[in-house]
Symmetry: C2
Subunit: 364 residues, 2 copies
């Protein structure tokens, strides 16, 4: 029964979670114990689609707090993190103040920016220096995640995925994990239908990949199965509490990563993001759509959900690429060895050649 | 859609979780960063059924560490907690040492003792002074839970249930929550079949009560449904990984308590424990067995599992009691107002009279 694994990850959990319709209204109370010096301030990084919105006006800003709109049309870059960190440090130094916390409000990209900035406020150098595993030395400043899209699992994960000068790779660290998440399903209302779907499918596809993979134990299986059940309810049999379920699906999907791994779709998707700048959610969807051979039931369910949700995937995305660009996509995807191994076993290189990966990319 | 609740609990999570067959072997590495002073020591509270066992010999004791066997034939008492705390403080004071941590190994009782002792090492007075909600002022010393029985959810809950001079009531506090839990399904092997069943049913019954109750949201529902599914798999369709599933059922059941409440069975069970000294697990089972009117499907499933697991419940437990003793049981159960309200709604007093409760007790 015991698996041939030397060590099991000692999984760092989010310290505090509040879940419920309207719980965003508790934010002032939640932050209060973390406001230290009289000269301290909180920084709110808000996805700029909410600039001028009702949500923006509900942020409980206090005297010295900073509200910084962030644009995430492109996925987070290490250069963006460095610039934000510099800007916030300047605000603190100029006013003789200290940063009490960073709050990220938005989808996975806005939350990842908040995670990365909170780490870089406490660690020297550039965010690019820390892309990898457990390179962070100092704990981050207090940081809070408030999702307005559900599916990425960024609210509970120990990574913040960044595109650097040379690679797309997360800062994976126990210190990356949020100190607090605020899960208010009311904040999901109003997202564009396609964006809601693509982000939800991040969770669905992730679970299909992990549950059919070779790395898995009962902890991750239990979370993965529940996340998958919830995704199917949300997109195949939607009810009035669909947003509540989608938020829980994302949370469970994120937890399931503890002892599991994603697979082929995520490996291809990273290449698409790097070369085409595709967002992770839609990148997963267009990649998953060509993977019926590897995930037959998962892809069948995915297409049913697309039909029901009236989602039309973009086509021909790789048609105009140069062969150098395609080669680069293959390179980026091949770096992710554990993903291929999880999907196909230790001998994955025998079947998953550069030619085969190219063939898959050219179908997208 | 929004429920009429003023505030949602900001749920404190266990800081770190490791799950996997054999992960107990990682304990030395897990504790190492928490060993501070050269004169510091860890205290292991081990259920004394393991005295002289292979498990005992695997505990990674270092120079000044203390291994204290604890007897949990009776459920934990505030007096026991006070005596243990005194004893450990004496050890520290005599040797000029400091307590770096407390590790509880056993079922819910042993883990609850570890939680309570870790709190009382950092707070003045008697454990009885803190029975209630959020009365603890100082953070506990580092404390770790290592279950050898699964079902209570004590590994993730924010309470430690104690019987004091006047009441059975938990010390409910964010500081009660473990800093670390070690979930090794191999440690469940060897538990007596009836004890394993009664403890597992703590989880099953808890989920039936919370999922049919009037307090519930999607967070707790998702965890409760998964815990229930896992319990049914374990006791109706057991497979080789049943212990892995039972450990996850307990974990999910414990998490589901965040935004839910137990019901009639737990209210009756508290009275049985107080007057008859019945352990919580078996107390729940004998009470649940007379509650078919209130939880018809749940009780039907429970009886199927009992049959399959060849469990015979004790009968006639209340037959020899004096009327004073029965009155006391009714008193203890009636204190638990939120449980009755969760099960029967705001007007619960109209149907659940003292006579009706007495009638239920006399069937047990």
């Amino acid at each position: 029964m015991r698996k041939e694994i030397d060590m099991f990850r000692n999984f760092k959990m989010v310290s505090k979670v509040v879940f419920g319709r309207g719980c965003f209204d508790q934010l002032a109370d939640i932050l209060a114990p973390h406001r230290h010096a009289p000269s301290g301030f909180m920084v709110f990084l808000l996805d700029d689609v909410f600039s001028g919105s009702a949500l923006e006006s509900r942020i409980p800003l206090e005297q010295w707090d900073a509200l910084i709109p962030v644009n995430v049309d492109d996925e987070p870059k290490t250069a963006t993190v460095d610039a934000l960190t510099r800007r916030i440090k300047d605000m603190a130094e100029t006013g003789g103040k200290t940063v009490d916390g960073v709050i990220g409000m938005g989808g996975g990209s806005a939350m990842d920016l908040a995670k990365a900035v909170s780490l870089m406020l406490a660690n020297p150098g550039s965010a690019a220096d820390y892309q990898g595993w457990d390179l962070i030395q100092q704990p981050a400043v207090y940081h809070v995640g408030i999702p307005t899209l559900a599916g990425t699992g960024a609210e509970v994960s120990r990574t913040t995925v960044l595109t650097g000068p040379e690679k797309k790779l997360g800062i994976n660290s126990d210190h990356t994990v949020f100190d607090q998440v605020v899960l208010d399903p009311e904040l999901l209302a109003g997202a564009p239908a396609d964006q809601r779907f693509y982000t939800g499918m991040d969770c669905y596809i992730h679970c299909i990949e992990s549950l059919t993979g070779t790395y898995l134990n009962t902890f991750s299986q239990a979370y993965g199965e529940k996340a998958l059940d919830l995704c199917r309810e949300v997109f195949l049999h939607p009810t009035a509490d669909a947003d509540d379920k989608l938020m829980m699906a994302s949370y469970c999907g994120g937890m399931s990563i503890a002892y599991s791994q994603v697979g082929i779709c995520h490996a291809l998707s990273y290449g698409l993001s790097f070369v085409l700048g595709l967002h992770h959610g839609i990148g997963n969807c267009v990649a998953f759509d060509v993977l019926g051979e590897y995930y037959p039931e998962g892809v069948e369910g995915f297409r049913k959900m697309m039909d029901l949700q009236k989602i039309a995937l973009p086509k021909g995305l790789t048609a105009g690429l140069t062969s150098d660009q395609v080669e680069k996509m293959v390179d980026v995807s091949l770096v992710l060895e554990p993903l291929w191994e999880n999907a196909l076993g230790k001998d994955w290189r025998n079947t998953m050649t550069r030619d085969r990966i190219t063939e898959l990319y050219l179908k997208i």
